[in-house]
Amino acid sequence: MGNVTYERLSAYHDGEVDGEEAARIRRDLMSDDEARAILAAFEQIDGSARTAFDADLDQPVPLHLARAVRSGFAARRRAAIGRVALRWVGPMAAAVAIVVVGNHWTTQRVESALAERELKIAALADQAVQNALEHALSGARVSVADDAAASVVSITPTRTYKSESQHWCREFTEELVIDGERVTRFGLACREANGGWRRVQTRTPGSTPPAVGTSL
């Protein structure tokens, strides 16, 4: 090989040499068969390296990694709620998920599996509210568990009264245990004309409760 070193050719291949040096290397390449062969080999080496490294991307990503991201951001949201007493950001924001991903990882599949699980837990919470408010006396605790979703929702009605609009309303404490993480919230639900209980308020301890639903 003539004037150009292996290392400078490698940098040239990566577009990491300045204009003047690049022009000189281009000139050298015209008369240097060996340098041209090396440059061509770089393409092949990089291609082989890509094939080898890309195989790592096909391995399933362990779910604890996805959970670490979820719970990390959930913790940030909880900290934000504590600081500024924000409105509760959605019942399942803090939910951490266990989902089973098959042999291939795709972001969409994980996203949809997480969303599906959040819906499942929301349905579980609704079931617990309906059971407890319909059948339990104030102070009695009703729990509903879903093993597959690794979650337990417990509802304890605390106070019952008739609202100004003559609806029966019940306040309750709600305890969610999701993957062993415990979240306690306070809720208010009122009975609708169809007999079901509709949740009109959910708040976390420390947050300012919104005005009670006088629209009912």
Partner: protein, 164 residues
């Protein structure tokens, strides 16, 4: 803003894990490193500059955690469970057999590289980072990065050419 970063980070996980594998060469150690990186990254998210590359930032955290881990572990016992790479692109027949041989040879050669060369090869040749970005991720000079990537290619050259 944060929900978008959260999605970006989820999407980055396979590549972050691959980067951790390049550093550790052990699936179990890579998972631990990736997990520690995610936790550290999210805890320090306020220090990340929006508009800059999230992957480079996470890689830098992984690189530093790994370096500290090496420093703190005086005796690294046990044998590395070097992961067996499998390629999807192989088909039946002779061509596949040849491709499989090359794949194995290249994977073995990459595994045998010094860690800093393997890291530079992944970041530059596979992920397309600039030398400057790699220098920032690894805390090395651009000259050192230039040398590492060149030596990595030199080491792989024999393997690729032999298997042709």
């Amino acid at each position: 803003m944060e929900p978008q970063i959260e999605r970006e980070l989820i999407a980055l996980l396979p590549r972050l894990r691959r980067f951790a594998l390049a550093l550790t060469r052990s699936a179990a150690a890579a998972d631990d490193l990736a997990q520690a990186t995610v936790e550290r990254g999210i805890a320090n998210l306020d220090k990340w500059q929006p508009g800059t590359r999230l992957d480079s930032w996470m890689y830098r955290i992984a690189h530093n955690l790994h370096r500290n881990e090496l420093r703190n572990t005086s005796v690294r016992g046990g044998k590395l469970d070097i992961i067996q790479r499998e390629s999807d692109e192989l088909h039946d027949g002779e061509r596949a057999a040849v491709a499989r041989l090359e794949f194995k040879a290249v994977s073995a050669a990459i595994a045998a590289l010094p860690a800093d060369q393997r890291e530079a090869l992944l970041l530059v040749a596979v992920e397309g980072h600039s030398y400057k970005e790699v220098a920032e991720i690894t805390g090395a000079t651009v000259a050192a990065v230039t040398s590492r990537i060149s030596r990595a290619r030199e080491a792989l050259r024999g393997v690729v050419e032999r298997s042709e």
